[in-house]
């Protein structure tokens, strides 16, 4: 007996499903336009538009060879765009391409399901780029649309609200599982599967070298650098110097950290004014952690460098939380190493002669460093220096040009000119970059520090005092330090909207929105191993590592599955002897080539057996009659026995006569 396997028929796709599927393609693909090459976005829009037109006009879809050609050409295009087909950007581009082309190949229900599944996959990739609340909301909406489309494909025509309601209900049913997995799934520091290298591009932050213009370029950027929560009241604005890279080598144009080999950590002598705070750092792909001067206690994954910075062992690539304690009143580097002090005195052999001459004159006049510093600061405040984001170009001797000609500059001009003067006068000095100030959000009490708060200042070293901060910008524009950048710059200069909001209600609104975002960051995106441990200890599960967590989760899942299985089994109707005997008969008859349809009544089945296998007709009729009597009749007098007897009479194997 040989049965040919029936060819799987193409289940047709209802015409009315097509708009749903196109909406899915648009909803899942469109947000990627932001980071796709223009030609790919245009191609995707064109194919989806073409599919919509074909649908509207009821035209046939293009033949397969044309589609194949298009796929190959576009894949080659993607390869040339990114020089690879792997990695985040190229991978996403490929997925978007498939999503845009699949509608042109949508013949049957199977194609539609492929498209929906591709959509679910594409949804995930949005998290590579953004994990904000709007993204989350959009993805929930798109996931609902995808689910609704599946319901529409398989459920036939229904009114729109009922489809959407059903889809929403399904997603809601998934929510508890999502929450449990979110809370309990083992958290491993860092991304689970290692994002491709290009995933960290596009983060902004402090540069590691300073030249005129490097800091002022950051100022128009209103994005958040980090948020801080102080234990107790935040310190005065004039104390909020968040230390970033320290630069002690000057080549005439640029400042950069000197390569001095191994240095001992800075010695810090705390003298009081300790503040404890937690910063939530946005990823900036650098290692400095921006602590307040001077750090006393720092997180495990960081150390204090010779230049008083808190430096992480790994670049900050994910939003991370760090707890610090800093002493605002301190003496640092009282016995500084010779190497560092020498580096802090070094100047290029020539250039900026006027500044050198000025510094030399100060050196003659004052015996100690304090006098020289006071002289320099007096110069900045006395003469007509202007604080501006758009200083004129400075030329080959930038310090001379700034000090004696243009007299217009931003903090990096002041800091670098000041440090130059100090060094020329024989005082060890260096440029420090970082952030200054920040804005307290009254809604949740977090201090928000933005890229526009970027700043550069100076440090000088005095025997017996160690390194001391001197901010020459404060001498010219004291309000920059006391009240923030907006009050120090003239109205006409471009600043991010956030830095200069005047409308009170808008300001309130933005505070609230930022507080919501911060909560999202702290609890959803920043739900890391520590937070998980916190939650678990509240649930009474102390000291459980991720292996234990996995085991627990596995046990819980197994228990849940076992429970569901047992329940389902207990719900299964117990077959009574009649049913058991009948199913045995049906199974035997099926082996002989006539399978009972699930809806087929006994007599109809017997008739069909008789028609297909006449030699079995009599047995089948006996069995069917006996079963009908036993199952549907009032009283079955030994009908089960007759049924069993008939079953026994069936041959085991059917042989063609």
């Amino acid at each position: 007996m040989r049965r040919t396997r029936p060819k799987p028929a193409v289940e047709p796709l209802e015409r009315a499903c097509v708009p749903w599927l196109l909406a899915c393609a648009v909803a899942t693909g469109a947000p990627h336009v932001e980071h796709l090459p223009l030609w790919l976005s245009a191609l995707a829009a064109a194919t989806v538009g073409l599919r919509a037109w074909l649908w509207f006009r009821e035209r046939p879809l293009p033949p397969r060879w044309q589609l194949a050609l298009l796929v190959v050409a576009a894949t080659i295009g993607i390869y040339f765009q990114y020089r690879t087909l792997f990695g985040r950007d190229a991978g996403v581009a490929l997925l978007v391409l498939f999503m845009a082309l699949k509608p042109l190949e949508m013949h049957g229900r199977r194609d539609a399901v492929v498209l929906v599944m591709l959509g679910f996959f594409l949804l995930l990739t949005h998290y590579f780029y953004s994990q904000s609340i709007p993204t989350g909301l959009w993805l929930v909406t798109a996931a609902t649309l995808e689910t609704a489309t599946l319901i529409r494909i398989f459920g036939g025509h229904q009114p729109l609200p009922s489809i959407v309601r059903y889809a929403g209900l399904l997603l809601l049913q998934a929510a508890p599982f999502m929450l449990v997995l979110f809370l309990l799934f083992p958290r491993i520091t860092g991304p689970l599967w290692g994002l491709p290298q290009d995933a960290y591009g596009g983060t902004s932050g402090l540069p590691d070298t300073i030249a005129p213009g490097t800091i002022s370029n950051l100022v128009p950027n209103g994005s958040i650098a980090f948020r801080v929560r102080f234990e107790g009241a935040p310190p005065d604005n004039t104390n909020l110097y968040w230390r970033g890279p320290v630069m002690d080598e000057f080549d005439g144009q640029r400042w950069r950290p000197a390569q001095l080999g191994r240095l001992d950590p800075a010695t810090i002598e705390a003298r009081g004014g300790t503040v404890t705070y937690e910063t939530t750092m946005e990823p900036h792909n650098q290692r400095w952690l921006l602590a307040l001067d001077a750090p006393q206690a720092i997180p495990e994954q960081a150390f204090v460098s010779a230049r008083l910075q808190a430096v992480a062992f790994e670049p900050v690539r994910l939003r991370s939380r760090y707890t610090f304690a800093s002493s605002l009143d301190y003496r640092a580097g009282l016995s500084e190493s010779r190497a560092l002090l020498n580096a802090s005195l070094h100047l290029p052999s020539q250039g900026n002669p006027r500044a050198r001459a000025l510094a030399a004159s100060w050196k003659v006049r004052h015996a100690d460093a304090q006098g020289i510093v006071a002289e320099a600061l007096q110069m900045f405040s006395r003469e007509q220096f202007t604080y501006t984001l758009q200083p004129p170009l400075l030329g080959d001797d930038p310090v001379d040009a700034f000090l004696f000609e243009t007299k217009q500059g931003f903090c990096e001009h002041y800091a670098s000119a000041f440090v130059f003067l100090m060094r020329a006068a024989g005082v060890p000095a260096r440029v420090v970059a970082g952030y200054q100030g920040g804005e307290l959000n009254p809604v949740d009490g977090y201090l928000v520090v933005r890229q526009s708060d970027a700043h550069a200042w100076a440090e000088i070293w005095r025997d017996g005092y160690g390194w001391q901060r001197v901010d020459p910008t404060a001498a010219t524009a004291p309000s920059r330090i006391e009240r923030g950048i907006a009050s120090a710059l003239p109205e006409s200069e471009a600043l991010p909207v956030m830095a200069r909001l005047k409308l009170d209600w808008l300001r309130q609104l933005s505070y609230r929105w930022d507080a919501v975002n911060n909560t999202w960051n702290q609890w959803v995106l920043g739900y890391n191993p520590e937070r998980q441990r916190e939650v678990l200890s509240r649930l009474g599960l102390e000291d459980i590592d991720w292996r234990g967590m996995t085991a627990l989760l596995a046990v819980l899942c197994a228990a849940a599955l076992l429970g569901i299985t047992l329940w389902t089994l207990s719900q299964r109707p117990r077959l009574d002897p009649v049913q058991r005997a009948w199913s045995r008969f049906c199974a035997r008859a099926a082996r002989l080539g006539v399978r009972r349809h699930p809806w087929e009544g006994p007599l109809d089945y017997a008739n069909r057996i008789a028609a297909l296998r006449p030699e079995l007709g009599e047995i089948a009729a006996t069995a069917a009659t006996a079963y009908a009597e036993a199952r549907y009749g009032g009283q079955g007098n030994n009908a089960v026995e007759r049924l069993r007897a008939a079953t026994r009479k069936l041959p085991y194997q059917w042989r063609p006569a």
């Binding site: 459920g155 036939g156 025509h157 229904q158 349809h597 699930p598 809806w599 087929e600 009544g601 006994p602 007599l603 109809d604 009908a628 009597e629 199952r631 549907y632 009749g633 009032g634």
Partner: protein, 307 residues
């Protein structure tokens, strides 16, 4: 009782000689009568609707009357009127054509809704009220209504609630090739009808109906009927599923079918046999604004495994 059953089989055979090649429909019509329901035949003119009704009445020895529905037919034309009798100096009720055992309401959807409802109320109540006096209709009372496909001009489609009063709706359809050939070669149908001898008497009908209502229904069969009805309610292709009244009608029709098949119990096959006739006119499709087709009904049956 076994004589009566033999007589029933003879009835089917005899009717089959008049309406050729339509045995399933004859059986359904008879089952409808045994289940005390009314029958709606929907088909084109000239396929033998009237002949079927007439033949059944004749074979059962029942009084037969026919009402041709037209757009100007009034309720009184069906029920009857009271007229003043000069001799008796009072009103005398002249019963209308509805006072008969078998009433053939021809082309029921040609009449206005008001007239339609007069007949349909009589069908439901098995009595009529005229001039404040209620008069019982004869027993048995069996209405066979015919209707043209509703897309024809000048028709008033029967509303949902009225359709529900018909236990079954059947279609006769064209005869097959052989049957039509015999029809063309055979004698005058009207003449054959006139010569038809009753196989049953009106007195036999009541015991038959009572016996049909007593055919055994096992719990397993009730499960099946429930599953079937439940699936019509889950099917998104229909506006509504079958009502509990429809489920009762289905069970009654299946009993009558089993009884005609000379069985003591109802089998799923019986339910499946009457299901299209009982369910199709009660299910409205969401798309296309029509009733369920034979394909729809078949799909529901195939989707419902026997419990």
């Amino acid at each position: 009782m076994s004589d009566l059953r033999t007589a029933l089989a003879n009835t089917i055979a005899a009717a089959g000689k008049i309406i050729l090649g339509k045995e399933p429909q004859i059986r359904l019509a008879l089952a409808c009568l045994l289940a005390r329901g009314h029958l709606l035949i929907e088909d084109l003119p000239g396929v033998g609707k009237t002949t079927l009704a007439h033949a059944l009445a004749q074979l059962l020895g029942l009084e037969f009357s026919r009402i041709q529905f037209t757009s100007d037919l009034l309720p009184a034309d069906i029920i009857g009127v009271s007229i003043y009798d000069r001799e008796r100096a009072g009103f005398r009720f002249l019963p209308g054509p509805v006072f008969a055992h078998v009433v053939l309401a021809d082309e029921i959807n040609r009449a206005t809704p008001k007239t339609q409802s007069a007949l349909l109320e009589a069908m439901e109540e098995r009595q009529v009220t005229a001039e404040g006096e209620t008069r019982r209709l004869p027993d048995p009372f069996f209405v066979i209504a015919t209707q043209n496909p509703s897309h024809q001009i000048g028709t008033f489609a029967l509303p949902e609630s009225q359709l529900d009063r018909f236990l079954m709706r059947i279609e006769l359809g064209y005869p097959d090739r052989d049957a039509e050939r015999s029809l063309l070669a055979g004698g005058n149908t009207r003449e054959l009808l006139g010569r038809l001898q009753p196989t049953l008497s009106p007195a036999d009908l009541q015991p038959l109906q009572q016996a049909a209502a007593k055919v055994h229904v096992a719990p397993a069969l009730v499960d099946y009927v429930q599953a079937l009805v439940g699936n019509t309610r889950l099917d998104p292709a229909f506006v509504h599923g079958l009502s509990p009244r429809a489920a009762l009608a289905l069970l009654a029709a299946a009993r009558a079918w089993a009884f005609i098949d000379r069985r003591e119990m109802v089998l799923p096959e019986d339910v499946q046999a009457v299901f299209p006739a009982v369910a199709a006119h009660r299910l409205n499709r969401v798309q296309g604004n029509g009733h369920a087709s034979a394909d729809d009904i078949g799909a529901i049956v195939r989707r419902t495994p026997l419990p």
